[in-house]
């Protein structure tokens, strides 16, 4: 078992504004641990991008344990999440490898990082909700006071934000890159696999776990080898 990042620097006040690591986060860490030596290390990733880094727990975990010269870029629309991500990296002594950027998904990183993402990490807002509840860049830019809904409200099928990122994978990912995504059964993983096959990506479920009512899974996407 690899050590989980130390999160003692984060307070109840932080968790009023950012997502507190929970079962989905820990499943994500377990899946990355599972893939660490066989999938991640051999790729010797240059750039790992985490979208919606929240507390920074996931990128920090990878930076702590993946012994490769990798840059960890993280994005979040929530300024509190960006500072929490940096604090978590600092607390766990990987701050020199991790760079938070406040933005909407990947905005501002393209076209520079086109085809350059070796590892992509995304724990999206996956809970099915009314579309109106989904937080957009516009809300975040004009009223950053309450962005907690951005951590979970996923709109129709819980897929509104997820699909925006999945459709970008062909543009984002390096030829040998791998993208990891947290999914719920309600997000219709089979439908996602079909959609991604059309875009030239294979989907593998790395790990599944039931947490209360949530049937969580971690999916990995890589380019189909012709």
């Amino acid at each position: 078992m690899l050590a989980t990042p130390d999160l003692r620097h984060l307070t109840a006040d932080d968790y009023d504004h950012i997502y507190e690591p929970a079962e989905d986060t820990f499943l994500f860490l377990d899946a990355l641990e599972e893939d660490m030596e066989a999938v991640l290390a051999p790729r010797c990733p240059r750039i790992c991008l985490e979208i919606g880094s929240g507390s920074g727990c996931v990128s920090t975990f990878l930076a702590m344990h993946l012994k490769t010269p990798t840059l960890y870029l993280t994005t979040d629309i929530n300024p509190r999440a960006c500072t929490a991500t940096r604090r978590t990296a600092a607390q766990n002594r990987v701050v020199h490898r991790l760079e938070p950027v406040r933005t909407d998904l990947t905005a501002g990183l393209l076209p520079r990082l086109r085809g350059a993402i070796d590892v992509l990490l995304f724990n999206p807002p996956y809970v099915p909700t009314e579309v109106a509840e989904v937080v957009t860049a516009d809300t975040a830019a004009t009223d950053p006071s309450d962005l907690l809904a951005a951590t979970w409200a996923g709109g129709q099928l819980g897929r509104v934000v997820t699909d925006r990122v999945l459709l970008q994978l062909p543009e984002l990912m390096a030829p040998n890159g791998v993208a990891y995504l947290v999914l719920l059964q309600e997000n219709k993983p089979d439908e996602i696999a079909t959609m991604m096959a059309k875009l030239g990506f294979d989907m593998t479920i790395v790990m599944r776990r039931r947490a209360g009512r949530e049937r969580l899974m971690i999916a990995r996407f890589s380019r189909t080898i012709e």
């Binding site: 750039i47 010269p69 940096r86 020199h96 933005t103 501002g108 990082l113 860049a137 004009t142």
Partner: protein, 123 residues
């Protein structure tokens, strides 16, 4: 603490702006944070660096000049790696903003974090 490494990967994304790179620092508060050099990391990162943009930015900030081109064997060029390390990893922009060279959109830097968010009418 926007490092020039990160800055080198950011581009203006205002609608119809096509040439917003590299962003120009405006009123930067520059700090130098000494850090242990990791040559493997630097060599690994080089293919992702836009060299001309880095040189332009270093020049704008009044920092020591970088060579005109990346040497043929950067991994064996100690002086080059040391200069690259100082520029990419040790220069930190603490506050100020980044301005698009084409459309002049201003991206603020707060708490050392670049803010690339646009409102919906700008996207």
């Amino acid at each position: 603490m926007v490092r020039l490494l990160t800055h080198n990967m950011l581009q203006c994304h205002v609608k119809n702006c096509t040439n917003g790179f590299p962003l120009r620092f405006h009123d930067p508060i520059i700090e130098q944070h000494e850090q242990e050099i990791n040559k493997e990391f630097l060599v690994n990162m080089l293919p992702r660096i836009d060299w001309n943009a880095l040189r332009t930015t270093v020049d704008q900030l009044g920092l020591p000049e970088l060579p005109a081109a990346v040497p043929e064997n950067p991994a064996e060029d100690e002086a080059f790696l040391a200069a690259l390390h100082r520029a990419l990893m040790e220069v930190n922009i603490q506050s100020g903003s980044m301005v698009c060279p084409e459309c002049e959109h201003v991206y603020p830097i707060r708490d050392g974090i670049p803010n690339m968010l646009l409102s919906e009418d700008e996207v």
